[in-house]
């Protein structure tokens, strides 16, 4: 028995030692800003969406590793899968984060609830690279709390090998009995409701409970048609042909297309949602200065380009958009010309009463 235990301990040690190795090869970065090593040894906790930063796979830049190397600050990188999960973690007080990247309506809500710190843009030299139209935007009109990270629209991804190219360009495909058990839908209330609201021609930010009731009924009706509710599991399901139709973010389609060229994409005729994910610093942040440094680093042309290429979403950074070497340079799905822009609506933060109402309705839909 003693031997057994000592053996376990040996393995623990061996594994612990392995953990120190790191085989990533650093890049020779060309940075615009200066990064001091004053904060060396401190930790920065970053809370971001899954699959939302260039992580060193496919010989790309590992953004966090590079930041650690340059500044000596340790990045504690955590991921969430929906704005709501992120919100619940911020509010519970269980963990504190230094940098978070929520979406528009959630930022509005966090500002309203006084959960964010003002960002001192004078200390972020690369801030000038952000395109003007993304400054002073509706959810942060005074530009105090957020710095745009990426922009996207929701559309429908489908598999041409299974369905052919001829498919109705409408949200209705999610309800079409022809596609029973082939379709997916979002596993978060706001986006899932959006698919139904669009089909019903509603305002996405309706404050009318009966609108939400109707959308919920439609979702319930469509549930039997669905294969499953997914978030980032959509990658595996669409890439392998497990499912044939999925509403998801345009940028993710481009990532999937790299793996499976049978996939195609459209913006539904009824219109869709456009979202902006921005970088914020929560009120409880413990390492504000490092957070500013990290934000500045994310805006570096080389880093922002790597992230934009990895994520596949549209970038609000002029150094990326105007870079002819950028992989998605002038890509028409990400940067549609003025004529091709679909009808879009933004998400707004909705009064608590209505929000709680639809979050409960979502639970009803899932229970149905």
């Amino acid at each position: 028995m003693k031997k057994f235990i000592s053996l376990i301990l040996t393995f623990i040690l061996a594994f612990a030692l392995c953990g120190c190795d790191y085989a990533y090869k650093y890049f020779d970065l060309d940075l615009k800003a200066e990064y001091s090593r004053e904060l060396e040894g401190t930790t920065l906790t970053v809370y971001n969406w899954g699959e939302y930063i260039s992580d060193g796979s496919d010989d790309m830049i590992d953004v966090n590793a590079e930041f650690e190397r340059i500044t000596g600050i340790k990045v504690n990188y955590l991921m969430f899968e929906s704005n709501e999960t992120m919100y619940s973690q911020i509010k519970s007080g269980g963990i504190t984060y230094d940098v978070i990247i929520p979406s528009d309506y959630m930022i509005q809500r966090l500002i309203k609830e006084n959960e964010l710190l003002e960002i001192d843009t004078s200390k972020i030299s690369n801030y000038s690279l952000i395109e003007e139209k993304y400054k002073n935007i509706y959810f942060d009109p005074e530009n105090k709390y957020s710095i745009p990270y990426s922009v996207g629209m929701v559309g429908i991804i489908y598999n041409t090998a299974q369905l052919g190219k001829d498919i109705e360009h409408s949200w209705n495909v999610l309800w079409d009995k022809k596609y029973k058990d082939m379709t997916l839908n979002f596993n978060n209330p706001r986006d899932a409701f959006m698919t139904a609201q669009m089909l019903l021609g509603q305002d996405l930010n309706s404050t009318n409970k009966s609108d939400w009731d109707k959308a919920a009924d439609l979702l319930k009706k469509g549930k039997d048609n669905l294969q499953s509710y997914v978030m980032d599991e959509v990658y595996g399901k669409m890439e392998t042909g497990e499912a044939a139709i999925a509403p998801y973010y345009a940028g993710d389609f481009l990532t999937m297309y790299e793996v499976n060229e049978d996939l195609a994409f459209f913006y539904p005729q009824e219109g869709t949602n456009v979202f902006i994910d921005s970088i914020c610093i929560p009120k409880s942040a413990k390492n504000y200065e490092a957070a500013l440094m990290y934000i500045n680093f994310l805006l570096e042309p080389q880093i922002a380009t790597a992230n934009a290429e990895y994520i596949g979403y549209a970038s609000p950074n002029t150094a990326v958009i105007n870079n002819p070497d950028y992989y998605y340079y002038k890509n028409e799905i990400l940067y549609p010309g003025d004529k091709d822009i679909p009808k879009v609506q933004y998400y707004q933060d909705i009064a608590d009463e209505i929000r709680i109402y639809y979050e409960m309705l979502w639970c009803d839909v899932k229970l149905y």
């Binding site: 906790t45 269980g94 793996v259």
Partner: protein, 268 residues
């Protein structure tokens, strides 16, 4: 009949191992899919070495498992000895009922209620961050304790009280008598409890999910990975863990059967 029963056992074992085999198989996949096999490669094993998140989480898991197993074994053994000494039937019943709660209750309830406590206390003493290493360790100790107590108690009940008295009569201090006489006779119970605690802690997902904060253990990382596209590196890591445990168990079995044979020889 004999052949049939063997076939049945084989079928059940196949059922138990089918997903494990699938996992091992796809850990050698050359593409990043875990259900369409494209070709053999060891790439995922190599990429594992550079996956600091996963290895870091493995380290967290092992630290928590070892610490919680040791602490709960010490606390739990002491508790079992103390419980034996409590004469009041009511107190005894009350303590045992409490002990049973974490074992009987759903993990999700235990996890959420502990989270409430930690966050509540955290707010009370003004911590900005109430979840982390300490809370996940406390949570693991809490759900390990009943298993330790319930594996030590029966051994204590079987132990001859006269031995203890004899040791005292021969001039041992009570503490010395405990370590010299009682401890050896309950050691198998303690070891079982400790191994069980270690195993439970290693595999726990639900309670850690609610209490770990940013001290993420391997099951939490795996859970997060299954929320997006699982790549075969998770399978590669699990395969490695599987092999390590498999070898350990074989080794343990060899050692223990050797010891048994030796003991059997001595008896005759």
């Amino acid at each position: 009949m004999k052949a049939l029963s063997r076939l049945y056992i084989a079928l059940i074992l196949f059922f138990l191992y089918a997903p494990v085999l699938v996992m091992i198989f796809f850990s050698f996949n050359s593409s990043s899919s875990v259900w369409v096999f494209e070709g053999f490669s060891l790439d995922w094993y190599l990429s594992l070495i550079s996956n600091s998140t996963m290895l870091g989480a493995l380290k967290h898991t092992l630290v928590i498992a070892v610490l919680s197993a040791v602490i709960s074994t010490v606390l739990g053994t002491a508790a079992a000895v103390g419980i034996m000494a409590i004469r009041s039937k009511l107190a005894n019943k009350l303590i045992m009922a409490t002990t049973n709660i974490p074992m009987m209750n759903a993990d999700i309830v235990t996890g959420i209620s502990l989270m409430f406590l930690f966050v509540f206390v955290g707010k009370l003493i003004g911590l900005s961050e109430s979840l982390g290493f300490v809370t996940v360790l406390i949570a693991h100790i809490t759900f390990n304790l009943p298993y330790v107590i319930l594996s030590v108690l029966p051994k204590l009940k079987q132990t001859d009280a006269n031995l203890h008295e004899a040791a005292l009569d021969l001039g041992c201090t009570p503490v010395k008598a405990f370590f010299k006489v009682i401890l050896p006779s309950i050691s198998t119970g303690i070891a079982t409890g400790m191994i069980m605690a270690f195993t439970l802690s290693l595999d726990d997902f639900v309670i850690s999910y609610f209490t770990c904060g940013d001290y993420q253990t391997l099951p939490i990382i795996i859970y997060n990975m299954t929320k997006k596209s699982v790549t075969p590196d998770t399978y590669a890591l699990s395969t490695l863990i599987f092999i390590v445990i498999f070898l350990l168990l074989i080794f343990y079995n060899m050692v223990s059967s050797k010891a048994e044979r030796k003991a059997a020889k001595r008896r005759f």
